[in-house]
Point group: C2
């Protein structure tokens, strides 16, 4: 199954999240099945990222969005650990500071976009400015409603610099979220992740759903598509994302640069030095 084709939000869609099965798991019958492919994908990703790093002709920006407990941190960990930290990093975006608020909403984002040779993962992103900001009326509608177009312009500009953009929306049901919150409550090693806000935000589920749908429908473009990742099964979420990243990197036809020195010459010198020593 070509998961890119299956999970992409086609530009100009009018997708409704209720039509999507958050428990979808493709052709995988079990977790064990999926983990084999995840391993394979992670190996490819590691190799391909090294080529991207060496070649310095492409960059990759991965954007993760999803409600609390949807698995953004899990993806950063399970999927991204295959890549060399040299040339890769995860940038999380929290509430903006007072200084950041005095600038346009992309001002704090732009400095962290990847240069050629880099892979950068945004754990939350500029999309918060049409999500939490919209749901809680943090700026007037007149302001946030213009941001979809401004975001598309911005991502077009990035892509004109050979930045490939992959955006993953991790989709879980409210029931699955509740199950995960309960697990956290019972797990002392994860209790630190619990905040009051998590539970309070559940009251805004419908408002978030509307905001997610607009984000997906208005901002899935040729150059920066959104993928909706059914994430009730963590193992499907991980294998799907790793597959899409690996396929995307493969399509770049990355090539390590040719050596800038004469390798044969150096080999001879090394050989000679070794003989002299002996």
């Amino acid at each position: 199954m070509d998961l890119r084709k299956k999970l992409i939000v086609k530009p100009g869609s009018s997708l409704k999240l209720k039509d999507i099965d958050a428990s979808f798991h493709g052709n995988y019958k079990s977790k064990e099945d999926a983990i084999k492919d995840l391993e394979k994908n992670r190996n490819s990703m590691g190799e391909l990222q090294q080529k991207l790093y060496g070649e310095k002709k492409h960059a990759l920006l991965i954007v993760l969005q999803g409600i609390d407990a949807a698995g953004k941190d899990g993806v950063c960990w399970h999927v991204m650990q295959s890549m060399n930290p040299q040339g890769t990093f995860v940038k999380g975006f929290k509430q903006p500071t007072e200084i950041e608020k005095r600038h346009d909403f992309l001002w704090r984002i732009h400095p962290f976009t990847p240069g050629l040779g880099q892979v950068i993962v945004f754990n939350r992103s500029h999309y918060e400015d049409v999500l939490v900001v919209r749901v809680h009326d943090l700026v007037p509608k007149e302001v946030w409603s213009k941001r979809y177009e401004l975001i598309n312009d911005f991502e077009k500009m990035l892509s004109s610099n050979n930045v490939t953009i992959l955006k993953f929306f991790l989709y879980i049901t409210p029931e699955e979220q509740l199950k995960r919150f309960r697990k956290r409550l019972d797990d002392p090693s994860r209790q630190w992740k619990i905040s009051d806000a998590d539970y309070k935000e559940r009251a805004f589920w419908d408002e978030y759903t509307a905001a997610y749908e607009d984000m997906l429908n208005k901002c899935s473009t040729e150059q920066a598509p959104w993928y909706v990742i059914p994430s009730n099964h963590k193992w499907f979420r991980n294998v799907a994302i790793s597959q899409i990243i690996a396929d995307t990197l493969t399509d770049m036809h990355l090539q390590l640069p040719a050596p800038t020195v004469d390798i044969e010459e150096i080999r001879k010198l090394y050989h000679k030095a070794k003989q002299d020593k002996e």
Copy 2:
């Protein structure tokens, strides 16, 4: 004379620089005439910038472009010194570094754009990426030719955050440039500003003219207009720019914020403390 109306490049123009008189000096008969108005404008600019800084609802970005010796440094000095350095600064853009080159051309620009309450002057700017870069084929035409639209998108985004953008193209003739270069050669205190490149670039005058004309015609927009400043007379250049800045700030109807404390209460306390002491 309303210099904004007179000197603006109307959006969608097809202006030719040869139709513009670089020695134009408006209604001013002499340098002395102009200097009186310059002083008046500088006072207004100083007062208005303090209001902008206090109010924090507007920002002002001033972009200066022009050929070598057109007077960009002169404007930074003579015009901008009226403003409080708290809340104002000049950012010059030189050749991009290796790291900067790996990013989109706006990546190094964005962090220096003004936040609400700030006035920032760009001495050269992102427009170099459609000027020197175009004239010297530093990137393929396919790349630079798309930048006009990307620049307009970017400036639209800034203006959506209440950043007012004023762009001044300082226009001098080749004869005036040569005269200024000669003066530099004879002035020991300015010889340090001379570089080989200055003279070499004169060979590309026509190519620069074509590039400037495209920049002016394609990127003068409602929200971020270009002004062509006839700059053969330094005194006209200075008074014209100061007038346009002062008029633009005036139109913002800036208001210092109301005090957040009860001034009368504090006055009473102070008065009482003084009496107790006596």
